[in-house]
Amino acid sequence: MDTKLVLPGDLIGERKGRRFGRGTFVEGENVYSAVLGIPRASEVEISVIPMSGVYLPVMGDRVIGTIKSVEVSGWTVDINSPYTAFLPLAEAVDEYVDTSREDISRFFDVGDVIFCRISKVTKGMNVQASMRDMMSRKLFSGAILNVTPSKIPRIIGKAGSMVQLIKQKTKCDIYTGQNGLVWIRGDDKAKAIETILMIERESHLKGLTEKVEKMLG
């Protein structure tokens, strides 16, 4: 990864019919950066990976959330973002539940940590979460680490290679949420945390995998 960085207002290049994605804006035919980050220009899309910033939910993201409150037919979930997500009962539980008789806190209660998917985001930033897939689950015990959301792909690595490496070497269970939260459980937790924080710090530099390998021995 080269270290060329752009600042807000910096010209990235001509649009040439390409899509302009996250962290960019267009004036006339030129695409400019809107954030401090690493520019990515391909044949089809121009975008900038920001170096900092809060998490804004996007449909399809897998996130780690904490249950904030239990409602009549669902839960509000804190997803480490300016916006909270709503997890409807039907998106979380397979069995039939009579909400007039039963308290749904037996499924998820305030403070529970879940790994879920963002299933819907409206223009007004009403966010809906879903647990209707194989990966989604409740996470028990463990520690949650807060990193910059845009660095999560780097922690995961190409096809999950980096996180696999950490899992293997430290024998920890690790879940990475695209909202910048990493959930870790295992005996060698400290080492995993140390490694992930190092990746966050040096995510824009070269030779990260080698460094991680060396660090984990």
Partner: protein, 239 residues
């Protein structure tokens, strides 16, 4: 204000602190001075020092302030009681309320607020040492802090003050000059497009002088902006 000063503030083309009329005081900038903020910066123009901290985008409370189609920006400009020679009584007053507003209006055009409906970006500007030109120093610090916080922006905002003393136009007024000036203009621009986001004038200037003031301001803003950019890039490219 508006008339010539009693004391001679420009002698042999040199100002009280030895600067030439078009010189800016030595500038120092630092990032990440407030650890719990999303982005923060400290900027000094000579003795004037401002610390800016940016929080958010974050959920906006009270809820009635939320706008369903856009985010908002809230700013607070505050002078510390110890920032001036005679202790300033703490808390907001007429002056700081006004400056809070003009700082907000200076920053607002640069930010893509529509990217985060119902949310807010909170900008806190604390003047910890005041020696003239505090609002422009505050804007420069706030702009750095916003970029560091990762807020989506069209451009950075850079500001400088230009004034008139003994019929000479001077750049970046210090405290003494500020009190004895014939005129004092605060200018903030977005350097890429040279769009003006803040223009406040005290005192009297002719039309020609105003045009000169603007060209001085733009020229110096570009120089300051180069420093701002350099600092931000250095944060990630090492030393």
């Amino acid at each position: 204000m508006g008339k010539k000063s009693d004391v001679q503030l420009i002698v042999d083309g040199k100002r009280t602190d030895g600067r030439a009329p078009e010189d800016v005081r030595p500038i120092s900038m630092r990032l990440d001075v407030v650890s719990r903020a999303n982005g923060s910066a400290e900027v000094s123009f000579g003795k004037t020092t401002a610390v800016a901290a940016v929080y958010g985008p974050r959920t906006l409370f009270p809820r009635f302030m939320q706008e369903s189609d856009t985010g908002i920006i809230r700013t607070r400009y505050n002078m510390a009681p110890f920032s001036v020679v005679d202790r300033k009584s703490p808390g907001p007053d007429r002056r700081s309320t006004e400056i809070s507003k003009v700082v907000r209006l200076a920053l607002e055009p640069s930010i893509f607020l529509e990217d985060f409906p119902k949310a807010t970006i909170d900008v806190y500007v604390e003047i910890i040492q005041a020696d003239g030109s505090t609002r422009v120093t505050g804007i420069n610090a706030a702009s750095l802090a916003l970029v560091a916080a990762g807020a989506p922006m069209k451009d950075m905002v850079t500001a400088v003050s230009v004034g008139k003393i003994d019929d000479t136009l001077i750049v970046d007024l210090n405290g003494t000059e500020d009190q004895n000036s014939q005129s004092d203009v605060a200018v903030a621009i977005m350097p890429r497009t040279d769009r003006i986001t803040l223009l406040q004038m005290d005192g009297v200037l002719t039309k020609d002088e105003v045009m000169t003031v603007l060209s001085f301001a733009k020229e110096n803003c570009h120089k300051i902006n180069e420093q701002q950019k350099k600092l931000l890039l250095e944060k990630y490219t090492g030393e």
